[in-house]
């Protein structure tokens, strides 16, 4: 016996919330891959702490999206029983773990973005539940940003090898940033109904904060490319299927299994 996929009934609001929740969920899964493998024990724990904060944020958003959808889907079903095209995370977070430099750079990019987004949601969302989730999450995101930005600076302004690795990380990941800021119908609808900001409004402050981190790391701001990724509309990179297979195996094989 195995569990079938659930069918989503999407509205702009649930799409908007799943984009954020799925981004937290998939990044948490990637960070979990450091468990037992980080360069030092203390960072192993730090990565797991960040992952658990993100899972908490994902749970809250998925549960709320499920409630808004009104089809009886709980957070576990949403986390584990969707097909690939029904996940709406940023393509950036599904990219392979990479080395420690790539991981802390991705954390810095996502934490900076999430912090700005949570701040806006906590201040402006017309949805009480979203405001409450954001008010709690913004504290977590601030720490994630500090922790990861510190490492970007240490490695960027470190040894020849750490700098090379950080430059390689930027070369691989920076092109995925554009997806954080392009605006579409779901985004416009969320803004129109007061659920949350258009993501394009986060671009200027995100670039300013990332530039400050890069300056301190004595790194050049990478050039923008024409590359566009589209995970938030369900069109994922080749890595997504593998991470979902990892995540979903148990719930598919043992439906409703708990421990």
């Amino acid at each position: 016996m195995s569990a079938a996929s659930i069918e989503l009934t999407l509205t702009p609001a649930t799409t908007y919330l799943l984009r954020i929740g799925d981004t937290c969920l998939i990044l948490a899964q990637r960070l979990g891959e450091w468990c037992g493998h980080a360069p030092v024990l203390e960072e192993d724990i730090a990565m797991a702490n960040i992952a658990l904060d993100l899972i908490g944020q994902a749970r809250a958003l998925l549960a709320h999206a499920g409630a808004l959808e009104g089809a009886g889907h709980d957070e576990d079903q949403l986390a584990f029983l969707r097909n690939e095209r029904d996940y709406f995370n940023l393509t950036l977070v599904e990219q392979p773990r990479g080395d420690f430099a790539a991981s802390v750079l991705r954390n810095a990019m996502v934490a900076t973005w999430l912090k700005l987004l949570w701040q806006r949601l906590a201040a402006e969302s017309t949805d009480d539940e979203v405001r409450a989730i954001a008010a709690k999450a913004v504290k977590e995101a601030r720490y994630h940003q500090q922790h990861s930005a510190d490492w970007v600076v240490r490695l960027g302004d470190g040894t020849a090898e750490s700098r090379r690795r950080m430059e390689d990380a930027f070369a691989g990941l920076w092109r995925f940033a554009a997806e954080m800021f392009d605006t579409d119908a779901a985004d416009e609808a969320a803004a129109a109904q007061g659920l949350g900001p258009r993501w394009s409004e986060l671009e200027a402050p995100w670039r300013a904060e990332m530039r400050a981190i890069l300056d301190e790391a004595t790194l050049e701001v990478p050039a923008d490319s024409a590359f566009r990724s589209d995970g938030k509309r369900g069109r994922h990179s080749e890595h997504m299927g593998f991470i979902l297979a990892d995540m979903q195996y148990l719930q598919r094989a043992f439906p409703g299994g708990v421990w």
Partner: protein, 100 residues
């Protein structure tokens, strides 16, 4: 987890003190390796306050702590053994003084 075997290449050791809530003292709770003070504070937060143990952390470089010599233990501490009169438990307190 470090591949380093040469202790000269390891990050310095720090002692971690955590205050559980305002008004209480910072208590020693363990140690960790970190490259500098800023990293040590963040790691102390990540390693030692995950279960709501803290509202403040201190870190001190372990080599900055001056400790008594274990070999001096007898000479330093045993002489206090038979001097119970140093405990202020032999006084009659006035009734008005509660909670001493």
């Amino acid at each position: 987890m470090s591949q380093q075997t040469d202790s000269a290449n390891e990050w310095p050791l720090w002692e971690v003190f955590v205050r559980s809530k305002a008004g209480l003292d910072h208590k020693h709770c363990g140690s960790l390796h970190a490259a500098d003070a800023k990293m040590a504070i963040q790691m102390a937060r990540d390693v030692y306050t995950r279960r709501q143990e803290g509202s403040s952390v201190w870190v001190v470089k372990s080599d900055q702590i001056v400790a008594s010599d274990p070999g001096d233990k007898d000479m330093y501490f045993d002489p206090a053994e038979d001097k119970v009169y140093r405990h202020p438990t032999f006084y009659q307190l006035p009734k008005a003084v509660d909670h001493m």
